[in-house]
């Protein structure tokens, strides 16, 4: 049995972050793993930052990932990945969707948005394995922009580090969506999985 594997998914309200953690957690229970996790709902979901932690393994007690103990950070949005940089250590895996969601405070001139280069440079300094993906493009190739989160979920499994079986998570994805859109999501998962494997080569 695995001791501890911590996944942090970050993004913006509406990107399907919570759905991803539900899929991960459900699959982990099927694979007989101990699961803990937490997220912020309520005010944060209305366009604000969203983070969701899923923790797997025997040594896990609390619902939150301690500072520097993240095994894999999945950034649905680049600046939101950067916002959680202190969860990383050198050995963490980082996967970032390169599509930015710029908050309304930026055009109002109340804050600024960093360049993708700055974000990636900071993340690469914090962790050794950092992968960037155009997940939206892959989702469109699979058939729907709405499947962006499943592309990223596939990419997470493409690291081949997770203690959950690929077959289990794929079954969870297939069960979760109505028959009409399940194939799009299955394809999105595979495209994400492959893209990550290629990037790691």
């Amino acid at each position: 049995m695995i001791k501890e594997f911590n996944v942090l998914i970050t993004g913006v309200g509406g990107q399907g972050v919570i759905l991803m953690s539900e899929l991960l957690g459900g699959a982990a229970v099927k694979d007989k793993l101990k699961v803990r996790g937490s997220e912020i709902l309520g005010m944060a979901v209305r366009g604000g930052s969203v983070t969701s932690a899923i923790r797997l393994g025997e040594d896990v007690y609390g619902p939150l990932i301690p500072t520097g103990k993240c095994s894999a950070l999945v950034g649905m949005e680049p600046s939101e990945a950067l916002r959680n940089i202190t969860c990383l250590s050198k050995s963490s895996l980082v996967i970032v969707n390169t599509a930015a969601t710029v908050p309304f405070t930026v055009p109002l001139g109340q804050s600024s948005y960093p360049t993708l280069e700055t974000i990636m440079e900071k993340l690469r300094k914090a962790a050794e394995k950092v992968i960037q993906l155009d997940a939206a493009k892959l989702a469109l190739a699979a058939g729907s922009l709405l499947a962006t989160n499943v592309v990223m979920l596939g990419a997470l499994f493409g690291t081949e580090q997770l203690p959950i079986k690929v077959a289990t998570i794929k079954a969870a994805v297939e069960e979760r969506f109505p028959a009409k859109v399940a194939p799009v999501n299955m394809k999105a998962f595979d495209l994400g999985y492959e893209a990550c494997r290629q990037a790691l080569k």
């Binding site: 309200g13 229970v29 309520g42 366009g47 609390g62 619902p63 500072t67 250590s89 069960e175």
Partner: protein, 634 residues
């Protein structure tokens, strides 16, 4: 294989659940027959879950008009011998405080549990109060879980304990329990169904001074029995390590952070641990045993030093020479974390830090200025955005006439519309509590000379807005009260309320209209507007402000999220707007600066509308001075 559900009769099987679903499951296992609540983060999903399975289980579930009524509904069921619960967020317990303070004079007949969802860090609340102090005041024993699994187990047990000791129990959840996710091992479901029976008993149920004096000593006796019994409850566990100098008392979820911290530091076998599942009353025998065995003690608990103060009192009473730490090393503000507990333990044990915390703090400090500010915002197409715009337009017009320096005052309230306290709306000058907008407006009207325009939502109006409205009529407060009616309780997940014509169990109900309530209460100016017609809405609100005496405007439009959902269901097209770049002055930015709609964005210096986000409300087209925003179909 069929997926297991929250009502599955499958002992020992595992489910992946949200903490609040686990708490609901605990109540189901105990055979709860009545559950009442007013929604509030982080508690809403408990009764939400129960309402979804009420018919299947043959139980009664209601969204009450407020927490006071919710508690009274549960109390009545308990008096009649039926197992019952009331569920609410921490500040909701304040609303229920009045009956709560007498409830334990009566004690429980049917198991009675109050679920208090505290919110350390105030993630979605106006304050960070620690409700264990309310429990202390009400002689209400508290169960505080360390994990989602224990929350379920405690909830199931709480009903039995409540009946065994004839006392109302509190389960204190926190955000990181209710909104945590975990695997959950299911237990057996009680199939017992009781018939409620009201037995007249003036000595127990009719509170005049005589009964108060009669029943208080009996309540104290019951509480003393519980005080002894908690020493052997499985939720309190003492693990002494021989020769240990340091002992830690971990209460509720803080116990989990403590165990994780000790493991991280690699000293889990060098420290004695007392796990506390009943902070009130404390298992005094276990505490004393720990205090006598070590030189120093650290108490880990969330929010206030509740256990810490009691432990200090015990050490003093029993003259035990032990140094007790708690909030001197751990913050009183904000939720705890493994890191915070780890750092406190390092200070006491001299253990080596597992990571370089200072380096990570430096990194955070360097990173924060790079990040965009992403406050939660009103959704695209939210009718509140239009209502706020109309209120401000009207108020400014009147204020200007009263004098150059006169500014209108906008008392605000609890609900989605509170999100507009951020720029560009900056729509609330005060937000204090449910219904507080109308109450504060009453007071302001007697001390300042400026237009006072208060606003609250429909659910908040029924919860706590009617008494201050009546007060305004009675005491002649010259104020304008805007009820932003989006026909749901949107902030907490679209629960029905008296204005929606639907109950928690999906039955039809009488649909109360705020305007009819206002008229019946004697308000002489009552109008209903559609906020999407900005001009007409502003004109009516202006007339309301100019009216001498209390005035009510109901600004009615269905919540954008529900509206979009229903349109999709009906296969009705959603026609977005777009910016005609030939007409748009890229430097004007009026649409962005006046409305702050997430669908209006800047790309390469040009103002554009995100077609995927736009709901077609058309409000931006009304504020554009260049008439550059046009419906796509045109």
């Amino acid at each position: 294989m069929k997926e297991l559900t929250i009502t599955a009769d499958a002992p020992r099987e595992r489910l992946f659940v949200l903490g609040n679903e686990a708490i609901a499951r605990g109540a189901i296992e105990a055979g709860v027959q009545v559950a009442a609540a007013y929604p509030g983060t982080p508690s809403s999903e408990i009764v939400e879950t129960l309402s979804g399975v009420a018919k299947e289980l043959g139980i009664y579930v209601e969204w009450s008009v407020n927490e006071k009524v919710a508690f009274e509904v549960a109390l009545a069921a308990s008096i009649c011998g039926v197992r019952a619960m009331a569920s609410m967020k921490h500040v909701g317990v304040n609303v229920a405080h009045d009956p709560l303070m007498t409830a334990n004079y009566i004690g429980a007949k049917g198991g009675l549990v109050l679920l208090s969802a505290d919110d350390p860090s105030a993630w979605s609340s106006q304050n960070e109060q620690d409700n264990r102090y309310i429990a202390l005041q009400a002689y209400m024993p508290v169960l505080e879980p360390s994990s989602v699994q224990e929350a379920k187990d405690m909830m199931a047990d709480a009903f039995k304990l409540s009946e065994q000791f004839r006392q109302l129990f509190m389960l204190r959840s926190v955000t990181r329990i209710g909104h945590a996710r975990s695997d959950l091992v299911l237990g057996e479901i009680s199939r017992e169904k009781r018939e409620g029976k009201f037995v007249k008993n003036r000595d127990l149920l009719v509170y005049t001074p005589k009964e108060a004096r009669l029943n208080k000593p009996l309540m104290l006796e019951r509480f003393d029995t519980i005080k002894k019994a908690v020493n052997t409850l499985p939720y309190n566990q003492l693990k002494l390590v021989s020769g240990a100098k340091l002992g830690i008392i971990g209460c509720g979820l803080s116990y989990s952070y403590t165990m994780e911290a000790l493991k991280w530091l690699g000293i889990e076998d060098k420290v004695s641990i007392l796990k506390i599942g009943t902070p009130h009353p404390l298992p005094e025998e276990l505490v004393i045993e720990l205090l006598k065995s070590v030189k120093e003690v650290l108490v880990t608990e969330e929010i206030d030093p509740f256990v810490e103060l009691h432990v200090k009192a015990l050490a003093n009473e029993h003259s035990i020479p032990v140094k007790i730490h708690g909030k001197d090393l751990l913050p009183r503000v904000g939720e705890l974390s493994t890191r915070k507990v780890t750092e406190a333990i390092i200070k006491l044990s001299g253990a080596k830090p597992p990571v370089d915390f200072a380096k990570l703090d430096k990194l955070e400090k360097e990173t924060t200025p790079l990040l965009p500010w992403r406050p939660p915002a009103l959704c695209p197409g939210c009718p509140h955005r239009a209502s706020h715009y109309a209120i401000k337009t009207a108020s400014k017009r009147v204020a200007r006439e009263l004098g150059k320096d006169v500014e209108a005052i906008y008392p605000g309230d609890i609900g989605c519309y509170a999100l507009a306290y951020n720029p560009p709306q900056e729509a609330s000058d005060t937000i204090i509590c449910m219904g507080g907008s109308f109450g504060i407006a009453n007071g302001l009207s007697h001390v300042v000379n400026a237009p006072i325009v208060a606003h609250l939502g429909d659910s908040t109006f029924f919860h706590a807005g009617i008494p201050p409205l009546v007060n305004a009529v009675y005491n002649k407060a010259n104020i304008t009260m805007v009820i932003m009616d989006n026909s749901t309780t949107a902030m907490t997940g679209f629960q029905p309320h008296p204005g929606t014509g639907q109950t928690a169990m999906g039955e039809e109900a009488v649909q109360l209209k705020p305007e009819e309530v206002a008229r019946a209460c004697g308000v002489k100016f009552v109008e209903v507007v559609d906020p999407f017609d900005l001009k007409a809405a502003a004109k009516t609100i202006e007339a309301a402000i100019r009216f001498e005496g209390p005035a009510v405007v109901v600004s009615r439009r269905l919540c954008a999220i529900i509206d979009q959902r229903e349109k999709r269901k009906r296969k009705e097209p959603i026609i977005p707007y777009f910016v005609d770049q030939d007409k748009c002055s890229d430097k004007c930015n009026a649409c962005i600066e006046l409305l702050g709609c997430p669908a209006i964005i800047k790309e390469d210096g040009k103002t554009i509308i995100d077609q995927a986000l736009c709901t077609g409300c058309g409000v931006c087209a009304q504020v554009c001075p260049y008439k550059a925003i046009i419906e796509v179909s045109q």
